[in-house]
Subunit: 544 residues, 2 copies
């Protein structure tokens, strides 16, 4: 199916080798393979990988790409797992890998900002703050500690702390445009401005958003705001036993998020989702069949002590402020839910200390439970963890390796993340669509609803499977496409798209598509940068 | 100085008359005069005023403008006082007045959002919420209750509550592009999306920022997020007696804003600024001379009980949360400042009740003071007020009219609003520039520093004068230009520009200017929409 490589490729390769050095231009099939491998089946062939070391090289490399008309697909660390990893949506791209650019600069403890390059990982930033004895927190996602912060931020990813809406906490960018010019946004467009890292709008039109979820520029530097560590922190966990209580749960949570009692993302996982976090697929209970009935899940939920829906969130502030929030949450849920637990660092420390006697007394597998609770607790404080990504091994039969890598390890993972207003009715509608769809294809409804802002619920559905089992790739893709079709027909559009989901954008109003095309044409006349990314591909059929 | 009107004008007028009705196309000099009048001297002549009633008419009117190549300058209510009011930066524009479009729609009490058109004023939205017995608050600015919310928001204006960064609380726009197409942003680009008023980023690139401080589109609808009224509210006032304590004041406030103890804009006015709010220029103390010495200000500060610098802010939350914040503020300023006062609604009510006995006991003119304090207290709760705008009459000798209108009343007002990181050092640098500059031109240093976000200080300098005194217009403009030059040389760029200040943008990096021009060219090939607005005019000399 793949197109022929462009005739100009050899000349472009020579030019990039001269610019970057031979060792930073990869063309061997074995070197390219990882960049053609995602957590689901993909077709796109990659022509080469180029690895610039700084903005100037990115700029020059783009000029070469324009000269020879070779499409460039920039990635940071390429760990866009569940959405396509490093793989371009179309064929015959050259990957520009930016993980070698990992400088950290302009750190200000007093003004709480820091400037990073695309290769800076969650772990690197976390270590940097630790090494500097900083009293500032970053926000982290549950993805790998080795994943890029810029990559996640420009995809408008979200995390767990009050700074969890990553793009909302960005203050000025350095961008290499598709034609190679380097620009700086916000007040950084002036070479001597003081407020370029403290005031994000700058003066004149605010263009930073153009470079998120798009193919209009390569972000080579980004200033991120950091959060002062609160005086006190407490996580909370709410459980409902019966699925029918979901609507009431959402309706009770909404005002608490809207009025600022809860200042950060609240995650609401169903029983299947929680099970996939604490354990592996219970093949022994299903006679080796990949069909996990509700009855088995109910039994495991009792053993593991979770409910039909399980809320986790956190409170940040002074002790008095957290107390106030705790009282409001407790009052709001009085008589409504099976259990609310509040857990601070001290209590977690005690639980760790006494986990073994506790297990003996209660039969609850606290040691195993803590393996999940500790990283979740940490994430709510912006501490990256390698432990969450292990849930992508849910359906695998071999053990989770020490350094899990879902692409390489042939984990099957597709994420679909439609957004709705935070109401019980919308939550139920989305759950119905999921339950009607995924079972048909033989997958579990792994659902995590996130209250990503004061008014919206993002329903992240994980299709998790084993790529080593024949036929599963196809079933997973069919399941994903049906989910997209059902969700978009019913008005629930994803906050973010996998490389297989771009065609959902065909449902955009025509005048908007014309505007988008005009801007792309103005900035990238040769259509060189990441063609097809967050764009309608007119050669593909619509999803509906 | 004015250019000849375009030859096509009569044909365009006929086309607009056919489209909008004769009564919505103004061409008489007397009708045009108000649109050529700002609070400072301007030269631009206006060709006509057109008044569309809906988005469709805006769209059609833009197509006429493109057909006949007539520049269009859109205004909402035209009260961009201190920055140019209704007046275009260039000559021979047709004004498109949108104040006739004032529908309010899609109000949701539970999700706290509302959709407005450009003619919706602060007062209208406030009344709407009152009429609906809403428990939601809007944010208001100190400008007239009759000014447009969209106008202010697209200029990235700010107010006083936790929702004071107006553009940050916008969720999807309807925009008429310069060539007449109507687009919808965020999830509104899909006709059936549910989350289009609750999730602002949508999917794909985020373009809303393009239409702020620009000339790339006409916003005809905007969804605004509203704030749930807090359980408890308390304003606070901090005073320092000596100017030398300014640095310490700023350094003490910064962490309180950064860590969320203070969730909203903090205003810090100097003695001159406070005096101009509570009183008129004391001509009787200066022998009728427009020179107000520090000694006189000191004397009046004693009478009125204010200090060299005067902070006002507010706390929002439960009683417990406000108590926690109050304790943190009190502790931070212990032994540092002359006075901290906390004032809630009850205390303000009591003060109003006992104002006359209090005056008799203390000699403090509480009744007059309350005339200022009540509207300031209200603003911090999002209640618009006509009382703040009265300070533009500072140098006028006639009484403030019942319906003050600074353009018509020939108040002189120019605002210059450079931004800096929130540090004592930057605050001092900016004050030094102001004091060295404005006195040379015979104006008072009327300074209000606003902590507009967690990290930045916006220094709003008001040049206030009487346009009826000969020579004052010229002095004020020279003063403004010198301020701009000094500030930009020292790295302090304004958050917003008056029509006279666009040339500060010549200091933008060349690659950025090229990008800006490409986007403008792609969206507005005939350069029809607001030419020169937030653009470099190459015919004018740079400010440095």
């Amino acid at each position: 199916m793949s197109e022929l490589p462009p005739q100009n490729l050899p000349s472009a390769i020579v030019a990039w080798q001269a610019l970057l050095g031979n060792e930073h231009v990869l063309t061997q099939d074995s070197d390219l393979m990882p960049f053609q491998t995602a957590t689901f089946s993909t077709q796109s062939q990659v022509l080469a990988v180029i690895r610039p070391k700084n903005s100037q090289q990115v700029s020059e490399a783009m000029k070469v790409a324009n000269q020879y008309k070779i499409p460039i697909y920039p990635i940071s660390t390429g760990q866009n797992w569940g959405y396509g990893s490093s793989v371009p949506p179309g064929d015959n791209n050259v990957i520009m890998q930016l993980s070698g650019m990992h400088a950290i600069s302009d750190f200000s403890e007093e003004l709480a900002h820091i400037t990073i390059e695309p290769g800076v990982t969650q772990q690197q930033l976390y270590q940097f703050l630790q090494t500097n004895n900083s009293s500032l927190w970053m926000d982290a996602t549950g993805s790998s500690p080795q994943c890029s912060i810029i990559g996640n931020t420009m995809e408008r990813g979200f995390g767990h702390t009050p700074y969890g809406d990553h793009f909302n906490h960005v203050c000025s960018l350095e961008v290499v445009l598709p034609t190679g010019e380097i620009i700086h946004t916000g007040f950084s467009k002036f070479d001597n401005a003081h407020a370029h890292k403290t005031y994000k709008w700058g003066v004149g039109s605010y263009i930073d958003g153009l470079f998120t979820q798009s193919n209009l520029g390569i972000v080579t530097k980004l200033t991120l705001w950091l959060m002062p560590a609160p005086e006190y922190f407490q996580a909370f966990y709410i459980m409902i036993e019966d699925d029918s209580e979901l609507e009431d749960l959402i309706e009770t949570l909404r005002p608490l998020r809207l009025n600022g009692t809860i200042k950060s993302t609240v995650h609401i996982g169903n029983d299947y989702k929680v099970l996939s976090s604490v354990a592996r697929f219970p093949w022994h209970l299903t006679d080796g069949q990949a069909k996990l009935d509700q009855a088995i899940v109910n039994q495991l939920a009792k053993e593991w002590d979770f409910g039909a829906w399980n809320v986790s969130g956190a409170l940040y502030g002074t002790k008095l402020e957290v107390k106030s929030a705790r009282e409001k949450i407790t009052a709001a849920f009085k008589h409504k839910v099976k259990r609310i637990r509040f857990l601070d660092d001290n209590m977690l420390g005690l639980a760790q200390k006494f986990q073994h006697p506790y297990k003996w007394l209660t039969k609850l597998d606290l040691p195993q439970l803590l393996k999940v609770m500790v990283p979740v607790h940490g994430l709510k404080k912006g501490i990256p963890t390698p432990d969450i990504i292990a849930s992508t091994f849910w359906r695998k039969t071999q053990p989770v390796p020490r350094q899990p890598h879902p692409d390489r390890d042939r984990c099957g993972l597709i994420w679909c993340a439609p957004v709705a207003p935070t109401t019980g009715e919308h939550a139920r509608n989305m759950v119905n669509i999921i339950e009607q769809t995924v079972a048909k294809y033989g997958f579990e409804p792994l659902i995590s609803m996130s209250m990503i802002n004061e008014r919206s619920l993002d329903n992240v559905i994980s299709i998790i499977y084993d790529r080593d089992i024949e036929g599963q790739d196809e079933l997973a893709q069919q399941c994903h496409q049906e989910l997209l079709t059902r969700f978009s027909q019913d008005g629930y559009f994803p906050y973010r798209l996998s490389i297989d989901a771009m065609n959902i954008l065909q449902q955009t109003e025509p005048s908007y598509l014309v505007l988008q095309a005009k801007i792309k044409q103005a900035l990238d006349p040769n259509n060189i940068l990441a063609p097809g990314r967050y764009e309608v591909d007119n050669n593909k059929s619509p999803t509906r």
